[in-house]
Amino acid sequence: MKQGTKDLIGLLARLAVAGVFVYAGVLKLLAPAEEFGYAIETYRVLNSQLSLYVAYVLPWLELWVGLLLAAGVFTRVSALASGLMLAVFEAMLAQAWLRGLPVTSCGCFGSSHSHSLGHEFLQNLVCLALVWLAFRYGSRWSLDKYMEGL
């Protein structure tokens, strides 16, 4: 594959993952944190108090990682951070799926719209693949490269 094509794929993957993170973060930040905390609680990994703390912090992390990834600031670190977050989400979804927990809202994009756990799991897998592409080829058109050239 030509280098230009790889760079383009990397850029598109980076923007796609960034878009998902920014969208998910903003939706949660504009809704009450208690709603998201309640969604986290249904995974039965954290108690209600810890779930609420996570609900206060996680949407900000999603937003900032998404924005940094979109702009290409510390691109590889941002991609790694987004991959790490997705891996944790996958683990949460998988354990809920395997335990057959009655999770009515996965909390992925706020508490309103939600698909089945299996659907969300597959969606996250696609995102993880995009993160890998962004990590590998996403640095060409980024603020990182621009700043290096100054």
């Binding site: 504009l30 309640y38 609680e41 108090q49 702009a71 309103s112 603020l143 290096e148 100054l150």
Partner: protein, 213 residues
């Protein structure tokens, strides 16, 4: 050279974080309007109680049933210290009979038995909540409590009853209520029985403070 680039990138990252944080905080809309009063049969406890709880609930929701039991326990544990206001928020998309249940409960309330009817609906939720046709349990519970079923039926179909329910639902939407049960405890939101019990850990302090001259 490398250090300078990293410094510039760090500055860019901080700027992105700052600008986005300000934008989100500005976009947040807080609805701090006072709650709409509800009919007396949906209000429990003294008006000047130090703990004021508004509960948005759905008769078909299993988590609401759990929370209902916890609330009953709290009311017994703190007699005269809690005022509970019951608000309907039937999730129409997933619970086919919850609007009907809410209407019948209000109409039972008109005949003086809201609490008893609500208890029966919650206690037997699994038997009626997902039936294909209109559940016979609505009538069964009314007769069990000695209510006038014909009167209840005409009340449940009236525009006044539907308007009261719609007003509760609109209020919930205005306050960004998305899940049931959602509580507002002295103005602070709690979603689900877990957050309710976390908030309850502070009830003794609130009551003690309210008792001070």
């Amino acid at each position: 050279m490398k250090n300078r680039t990293n410094a510039r990138l760090t500055a860019a990252a901080l700027m992105i974080v700052f600008v986005s944080a300000v934008a989100v905080l500005l976009a947040r809309q807080l609805n701090v309007a006072p709650m709409r009063p509800e009919p007396a049969y949906r209000t429990f406890g003294p008006a000047d109680a130090p703990i004021q709880i508004y509960e948005f609930t759905d008769f078909s929701c299993p988590f609401c049933r759990m929370a209902h039991t916890k609330l009953d326990e709290l009311m017994k544990l703190y007699p005269g210290k809690i005022r509970l206001v019951f608000k309907h928020y039937p999730l129409l998309g997933i619970h086919p009979w919850s609007l009907y249940a809410a209407a019948y409960a209000d109409c039972a309330g008109e005949q003086g038995k809201f609490k008893q009817y609500a208890d029966l609906l919650f206690d037997n939720q699994e038997t009626w909540a997902f039936e294909k046709g209109e559940p016979g349990e609505f009538r069964e519970y009314a007769l069990k409590l000695g209510l006038d079923w014909d009167k209840m039926q005409s009340c449940a179909g009236s525009t006044e009853t539907l308007r009261a329910l719609k007003l509760d639902m609109s209020e919930a939407e205005m306050k960004n209520v998305d899940s049931t049960p959602t509580f507002f405890i002295n103005g602070k939101r709690a979603v689900g029985a877990g957050q309710l019990l976390d908030a309850a850990k502070n009830f003794d302090n609130i009551i003690a403070k309210a008792g001070k001259p």
